[in-house]
Amino acid sequence: MKELWKGNHAIAEAAMRAGCMFYAGYPITPQTEVGEYLSGRMPELGRKFIQAENEMAACYMLQGAGSTGMRCMTSSSGPGFALKQEAIGYLCSNWIPTVFVNVIRWGPGLGSLDSAQTDYFQATRGGGNGDYRLPVFAPNSIQETIDLMYEAWDMAEKYRNPVMILSEAALGQMMEAVEFPEFKEGPKQSEMDWVWDGVGDRHSFNHGTPLYVDKPRRVREKIETMQENEQRWESYLVEDADYVCVAYGLPSRTTREAVDQLRAEGIKVGLIRPIMVWPFPFKAFAEIKKDVKGIISIETTDAGQVVEDVALATKKMVDGNVPVYGLYTAQKVVRPSEAVAFIKRVIAGEEKEVF
């Protein structure tokens, strides 16, 4: 039977169902309920919860837990999540599977508690040093948040890489009716060929070829494999669309309403919704018809971030120099009426293309 759950609580319970054994984090609005819930739930399940002294310490606790093969996670928002960037670099460098949850609030700096997608570049380009990528899941409902949390560790372990769940303030705070999957466990330590468990010849990390051997090539191959295999999206009325919108997370839901309203008026508009924002779903653009008139990124940023990936995907996958537009609604998820008005202005030639 479905029950009403708050997004942040659902993230926490889904992590438990997925076999997360260790959480370390530091409170910050609008994701504090993740840690609050786990502080009670994890001891109840015989698992380990730590409120760390700060965000950085939490990540290095993950480095410890993750290197033993334990399923572990942290969560934060805004400037708190910014503090985790250095450690994400180390975890990527050391190929340690971990799960990061960012319930985005509007930034930069202290920013505000408003719902936003302003950490898109940080998530997809990386805020730490060096050349690394994280698979980034971008759910648009609480049920999908649960479903993606449930498989996050499977992907992290598959690639030996941290992965990220990109939520947003309103998605963390709102409630929807959901169902949870059954509890599952991660792989046993003895089944993993790289963990540090201090037993026999497994007392050192990384059995087999050391990580530093031929590292640039192996990193590149890993990133290319993830790009090839993990693109994930939902297409809505794209095939015959003269204008195709691209939106992820909550804006994808209001944009879909706008698409329905415009279709009812006979205007052929479609929607591509990235479910993973890295790797960006370039393949979704293959379905766009040849004489499409424009691609429109709709996002909760100030000056446009997703639009850059939309432009790259358009250049690679769509013939001709198709214009790419951007509607940026900063601290407010776009309203359907706002999206409808913008798309009509694009059609009327009253909006200037970004790319």
Partner: protein, 177 residues
């Protein structure tokens, strides 16, 4: 169906939204509930938005609501975004003058606090407003709504208030002609 419960922090506008969301869920609908409030616990603007439908629900925030409950004066600003023919419930205990909307919307005046007091449950002014909506718009069967209301408080460990809360719901329901 899109409903905004608006007031100042402490008037129970998040809770009235949540209860309505539970009623919609028990009626088999898809539901979203979204809270919006500032950093302060009491005072300051607060509202919650409930949407329910048999179909897919878009964003959780309001766009053009069907119903607005204004528990205080400043909340009347939400009336401007109501659909034509939409319903505005005004808590006359905390609103001095009700503007003239020239028939664009239906206005129902409910003395939420006075009615809550009359059933000896002064904290339940927010629940009174739910009863008024149910009567004015027939969004739920009132008997089913009573069950959902009771379940909500029982599941939150507050079952002892079930009877008093049902009285508040009915006070709101019966005050609408």
């Amino acid at each position: 169906m899109e409903i905004i419960f608006a007031g100042f922090g402490g008037q129970g506008v998040l809770t009235s939204g949540l209860i309505t969301a539970e009623m919609a869920l028990s009626a088999g609908k898809n539901v979203t509930w979204m809270p919006a409030y500032g950093p302060s616990m009491r005072g300051g603007k607060a509202y919650s938005v409930v949407k329910f439908s048999d179909g897919v629900i878009g964003g959780p925030d309001y766009d053009t609501p069907d119903v607005v409950v204004a528990m205080n004066g400043p909340s009347l600003e939400f009336a401007d975004c109501l659909k034509d023919g939409g319903l505005l419930i005004v808590n006359t205990d905390a609103v001095d003058t009700v503007p003239d909307y020239n028939g664009r919307i239906d206005v129902v005046e409910v003395a939420c606090t006075t009615l809550a007091e009359s059933v000896k449950n002064i904290k339940a002014a927010n629940i009174v407003s739910i009863g008024a909506i149910i009567k004015a718009r027939q969004i739920f069967d009132i008997e089913d709504a009573k069950v959902a209301l009771k379940d909500y408080f029982v599941s939150h460990g507050k079952g002892k208030f079930a009877e008093a809360n049902e009285a508040a719901l009915m006070a709101g329901f019966e005050c609408v002609k």
